[in-house]
Amino acid sequence: MGTEEYYSEVEVEHQLAKLSQADIARLIQIFTVKGCEARAGMAGGDVLNQAVTRVLGGHRLWRKDHSAVQFLIGAGSSIIDNEAKRRAREQLTSSIDEFVEETDLNEVSAEVAERLSNKSVQCEVEAEQDDAGVNQWLNKIRRLFSGDTDVLCYLEQKLSGIKKAEILHFCQFTDTTYRAVERRFKDKIRKRFPLGFGSRESQS
C-alpha cells in the first residue's frame, strides 16, 4: 500500500478547497437519494459536513484516482449506513424492552412460541406489502413515460434483469439509441423523483 496512491494531509485540504457550489449541491442531492433523511434522520448537508470532518481528521484514506465528489459519496454513504444501523438497533432494543415490560413473565414462553409461529405469516404479509409498494412506484414511472415506447421497452427489460446486449436485441436499439434512451430515462426520473425511491411518502 504505497503512500503515493493516497493524498497526503495537505493534498486532501487542496482537493476539498476546490469543491464548487455545484459539487456541494450534487453531494447533498445524492445523500438525499441515498436516504439520509428517511433512513438516518440526517439532512444531506449534515452528512456532507460530517464526511468532510472525518476526512480532515484522517479517518479515511483518499485514493488519488478518486475525484472529490466520488470520494465524499463513499464517506457520506458510510455515515448514512452506520447511522441507519444504529437507529435500527436502538429501535430493536426499545421494542424488546417494551415487550419485556408489557408481558407477564409467566406467559413469556407461550407468548414467544405464539409470536414465532406467526413469524412466517408476518414475513409473507410484509413481502406482499413491499411488492405492492414497488408496483406503485413502477406505475408512477410507467405513467411518466407513457407514449415513450423506447423507454418503456428499456424499463421492462431492465426490470427483468436483462443485460444491455439483450436489451439492444429485444428493443431493436443501436448502441447510440440505447445510450440516448437510458439518458432520457435517468434524467427524467431524476427531475420527477429528486428524493429517490423507497421509504418516501412525499412523492405522490
Binding site: 485540504e13 456541494i24 450534487r26 447533498i28 414497488v134 412506484w137 423523483f193 429528486p194 429517490g196
Partner: protein, 142 residues
C-alpha cells in the same frame, strides 16, 4: 425484488446527477426536493471554515515544533561552548575555512576580522557564530 429495484433506480438517479452539467445543477437549486441555496452555502462555509481551522492548527503545531527545536539547540550550543576544548573548536573552524566552496566570501572576511584578537573567547565566539550559521554541525553526544 423491492430492494434491488429501489437501489437500481436510485443508482440511475445518482448517475444522472453526476452527469448533469454544473449549470443545470446550479439552476435546479431551490427546486422541490432539491437542496436550497442556503444549505449549499452553509456547507460551503462549513468546509472553508474547517479547512481554515485545520491549517491554523497545523501552523501552530509546526511553530511549536520549531520553537522547541530552537530551544533545544540553544541549550546544546551553550553547553558545548562551555565544555568543548578550544583546540577542537579551532579544528572545526579550520575545516570550515578549508571548505571554501561551501562558505560565502563575506563569512571568510568576517572571520578574518574577528580572529585578529586571537583570544580563547574570540575563538569561542567565532565557533558559536559558525554553528549558528549552520557551517559547523553539532551533536548531542559531543
Amino acid at each position: 425484488m423491492n430492494v434491488s429495484f429501489f437501489d437500481e433506480m436510485n443508482e440511475l438517479i445518482i448517475e444522472s446527477i453526476l452527469e448533469a452539467s454544473d449549470e443545470e445543477i446550479l439552476a435546479s437549486i431551490g427546486g422541490e426536493g432539491l437542496p436550497t441555496w442556503n444549505e449549499v452555502q452553509q456547507s460551503h462555509d462549513f468546509i472553508q471554515n474547517s479547512l481554515q481551522t485545520k491549517r491554523e492548527e497545523r501552523l501552530e503545531a509546526n511553530k511549536s515544533k520549531l520553537l522547541s527545536f530552537k530551544s533545544a539547540r540553544e541549550k546544546l550550543i551553550n553547553k558545548l561552548k562551555s565544555s568543548k576544548k578550544v583546540d577542537e573548536m579551532v579544528g572545526d573552524i579550520v575545516n570550515v575555512i578549508q571548505n571554501k566552496e561551501g562558505v560565502p566570501d563575506g563569512v571568510l572576511i568576517a572571520f578574518r576580522e574577528q580572529s585578529k584578537g586571537g583570544s580563547d573567547d574570540d575563538i569561542k565566539d567565532i565557533w558559536e557564530n559558525l554553528v549558528r550559521l549552520g557551517l559547523i554541525d553539532i551533536e548531542e553526544d559531543e
